[in-house]
Symmetry: C2
Subunit: 177 residues, 2 copies
């Protein structure tokens, strides 16, 4: 009887682990099922305040500004997590190009600037805990230079990668004072 009880506990624990480990893939499945991709560019985003800047080398090869709407910027500055409802974090990515005109002035190759819009020019994460519950409370969106949403197959890679940052409410970029 004691052996049976231990076995049951063992099975229960194992199931627990399995259920826990399954959460990520269940989320991805939910993402596939629900209308979770945001298809609208937030109006006025180009006037938003700066969160930070970055350069992604490799295949992306972009230089980017990460911006936030007022709700997001306020939360960033106050160090509040999770981000409140209505927060939107966006990023604009331009091709990373060497600036001949700047280098001429400097007398050396040192200046890299923002060129043309990249294929995934604009991306946004929109906080709505209920609507986007399946993807950590954030809806994801991505647009090319003409405002056309990126295809859904590519969009399915957003959450699996951001998911690693659950303790920072799924946001990679830190605020730069």
């Amino acid at each position: 009887m004691k052996k049976l009880a231990l076995l049951l506990v063992g099975v229960a624990m194992l199931s627990g682990i399995v259920v826990f480990a399954a959460i990520p893939s269940r989320h991805v499945t939910a993402q596939e099922a629900g209308p979770i991709f945001v298809k609208k560019i937030p109006p006025g985003y180009r006037d938003w305040k700066v969160v930070s800047v970055a350069h992604e080398a490799g295949e992306l090869n972009d230089i980017r500004a990460v911006l936030g709407n007022d709700i997001a910027i306020k939360a960033y500055r106050e160090g509040k997590l999770p981000f409140p409802e209505g927060a939107i974090v966006g990023r604009i990515a331009w091709a990373y190009v060497s600036s001949d005109e700047n280098n001429k002035s400097f007398g050396r190759e040192q200046s890299f600037v923002a060129g043309s819009p990249t294929p995934a020019y604009l991306q946004f994460m929109v906080k709505d805990s209920k609507k986007y519950a399946a993807t950590g409370g954030w809806g994801y969106s991505s647009f090319d230079k003409d405002g056309k949403p990126t295809d859904e197959a590519a969009m399915k890679t957003c959450f699996p990668c951001h998911q690693a940052l659950k303790d920072r409410d799924f946001i990679f970029t830190r605020y730069s004072p």
Copy 2:
């Protein structure tokens, strides 16, 4: 007589060239004489809109956001030159650092982000055609992370370098849509 005339023309041309070439150093001299360096950080600059972003490699080794006050942004967007009175263009420069946490998510070394403030953390160009007439109508300023102005010796290098861009009203950074 013809030879003398030619000689005079030659001398006149040469003088012309000499006078023309002397303009930059005359400006630098004026810069030394007048109180042209701005010693105050413009209030609210961190809330300004983005002009563009850049990475300066080499000794600077920074990643930067170039921002503009409303007057500057309006002029940039309308493509108006010269910039109107009261325009201020600023830039924030952070150390250019590799992001271990981002690279871990990407599975490769590709992400470079904004680190600590650089020695010349904040720089601004303030348009006042009369006050800063000696330096193309722009007053220059530079501050470290504690808001302390950069020493004047270093400040004297601003205008001689920006001077090359007279036809763009002395501004290096182009607006990135």
